[in-house]
Amino acid sequence: MTRAESPGPRRWVPWLLAGAAYAGFVISLYLTFVHYRGYVSPCYVVHGCEAVQTSKYSVVLGVPLALLGTVFFALMFYLGIGLLTGSRVLVVRVYKVLAFAGALAIIPLFLLQAIVLKAFCTYCVATEAIMLFLWVLSFLITAPGQNAEPLDAAAQSE
């Protein structure tokens, strides 16, 4: 079967996934540095980062959410590279599970900001948007009928 006859592996998707995960990694890492350095982040006119960053919900069991986000996005970044270099079925499955978990995590995070804190942190909303984006895009990782085939093999068979 040729690429013209089927949707085929979308080669741009892993690039986009890796790029988005990298953006999420940078934002989360920044917030992690801010947390651990005790860096006083000022109150800006346009967003309520100060309320979110200083809330008790910014730390879960002693671990800052920003650090969890950094680890999550680093993992998604490397999995994105894994998809780039040859998307084995295991990598795809792990990616989809993590992307779904990330999408689920958005719900409490967003509700906390909207209902409890009544403030939205631009950085946090940006990372939540990226998590949602990764989940939505994860549906495009493999074309129908190619779930067990590595992308490289598909490319070489053309």
Binding site: V34, E50, A119
Partner: protein, 215 residues
């Protein structure tokens, strides 16, 4: 001897190495970015006779702060500023300017309370009380009873305090300072100007060092 397999392996390794380098680059850049205090020339007005200030009016150095009483980070800086006022109050003029942020519900009403206290010579005392008790009044349904209790504890004339807080001249004063700040490029609070430079020191030690260097 080169084989196609080896080439393929090398080519496959490039994204992993490149990706790891990108992550390390972000770590290094953010480490430096979050560690350094920013400094830039100030565009806000220099201290003037109308300013609320602490220290000699003819001091060689001034420290201007644009602040919002409901800003949690301004509250974190308040004890630092109190220490600095105590240390350098005889040589440095510490100026407070109002910059109530629109996203803080009680920013303006708290600024009015502070200004009203200033008209009875108790600005810095009210300033300290507002920041110290920020959590209680900022999370209340109505902060005015809290402001009244602070005013009473400072021995202020409550009727005058209310009248001054509600006066149009108070609203105008606060609005004028905020507008000047906005024109001068203030985008967040706290916003500090030490001498002619906008700075954002991250600790008391860093702030102290900046003042010592400027003196």
């Amino acid at each position: 001897m080169h084989t196609p397999g080896k080439h393929l392996l090398a080519a496959k390794g490039v994204p992993w190495v490149g990706g790891s380098l990108l992550l390390l680059l972000a770590v290094g850049a953010l480490y430096l970015f979050t560690g350094a205090a920013a400094s830039e020339p100030s565009r806000t007005p220099p201290p003037n006779a109308h300013d609320i200030s602490f220290g000699p009016a003819d001091a060689r150095l001034s420290v201007i702060e644009y602040s919002d009483f409901q800003c949690p980070f301004c509250a974190l800086y308040a004890p630092m500023l109190a220490t600095l006022r105590e240390t350098y109050g005889d040589r440095v003029r510490f100026v407070f300017r109002f910059y109530p942020l629109a996203n803080h519900q009680y920013a303006t009403i708290s600024a009015k309370a502070a200004y009203a206290a200033s008209l009875q010579g108790k600005f810095w005392e009210m300033h300290d009380l507002l920041f110290k008790n920020q959590k209680e009044w900022s999370e209340s349904a109505d902060p005015r009873p809290y402001f009244d209790s602070y005013a009473k504890s400072l021995g202020l004339d409550i009727d005058k305090f209310h009248a001054d807080a509600d006066a149009q001249s108070t609203t105008d004063f606060i609005a004028r300072q905020a507008a000047e700040g906005k024109r001068g490029g203030v985008t967040h609070t706290p916003w500090f100007v030490v001498g002619d430079s906008v700075v954002l020191p991250r600790s008391l030690e860093e702030f102290d060092k900046l003042i010592q260097e400027a003196l």
